[in-house]
Amino acid sequence: MTQTIHMKLDARGLSCPLPILKTKKALSQLNQGELLEIISSDQGSLKDLSSFCDQMGHELISSITHDDEFTFIVKKIS
């Protein structure tokens, strides 16, 4: 199943907490149900992003590790 990505966020090269802060900002520009793709190179973002989604009620649809890069797809819920 292919889903439309509504926005892409390149957070590569940024360290904690910037990937999370930028994710939060990007999500605020989306409508409920839309998808955000985030690429980051920060090891910490792997756990932190999923914790962020848990706490904020957003749905972490996928999280893929590719060498030193992480790609996340988040569905805006609230």
């Binding site: 940024l14 360290s15 907490p17 910037l18 999370i20 802060l21 962020f52 706490q55 904020m56």
Partner: protein
């Protein structure tokens, strides 16, 4: 059976009947109460906005990061955040941020070259205290190296993090006593300071917060 005896029996029956009712009532009430209580507590928890207060007392570059990182992250999670800047911590609110870091008396600070060949960057230099204290400009050099390391690793600058905090409505509270103590002027500080107060005004905010930190 005499009239008195009959009366007594009737009373006994009434009491045991009442006790029975009471028991049924209590059981029912307790069950309902437990159900409602659970529901109400869950409602209350869902409506609760977490809050954090931080007391910032240090004004060096290394001590500027933790409060601004924690505050900006908490704000991103929707928390209510207030930071009280006191003593040297107040300098983190100056309009012109010029923060330094000192490796002197800071033995846990790694001393590594942020430039040059890779093998050199991994060498931890063991600089004697005497040198750190005695060589003019050593602190300035260490600060420059730390800034380079931070930007190499994609860590935001203190200025950037402070701006994010301000944008995300983190309440910046400044200690009035400190500005008087060091003969500073309120004009030297950012305009976004929400109030200039003392401990008496800050403590009630801290009292109601879920998380209190002292940095």
């Amino acid at each position: 059976m005499t009239a008195t005896q009959e009366n007594n029996t009737q009373q006994v029956r009434d009491i045991s009947m009442n006790e029975f009712d009471q028991q049924v009532f209590d059981d029912h009430f307790n069950k309902r109460f437990d159900e409602r209580f659970k529901l109400k507590m869950a409602e209350k928890e869902a409506a609760h906005v977490p809050s954090m207060t931080i007391i910032v007392t240090k004004g060096t570059m290394d001590m500027a990061y933790p409060p601004f990182i924690l505050a900006s992250t908490a704000a991103a999670l929707g928390w209510d955040v207030s930071i009280f800047f006191t003593f040297y911590g107040l300098s983190l609110l100056k309009s012109d941020l010029d923060l330094s870091i000192s490796p002197l008396g800071n033995p846990a600070m790694p001393m590594k070259m942020p430039l040059g060949p890779q093998w050199l960057r991994h060498v931890e230099m063991n600089v004697p205290n005497l040198l750190m204290a005695g060589v003019p400009g050593f602190e300035k050099m260490a600060t420059g190296m730390m800034k380079k390391t931070l930007s190499n690793k994609g860590v935001a600058s203190v200025n950037e993090l402070r701006d994010i905090c301000v944008e995300s409505d983190v309440k910046m509270i400044a200690c009035q006593m400190t500005v008087d103590l060091f003969d500073w002027s309120r004009d030297d500080f950012i305009a976004e300071i929400s109030e200039w107060v003392g401990a008496t005004s800050f403590l009630p905010i801290a009292q109601k917060a879920d998380v209190n930190l002292f940095i």
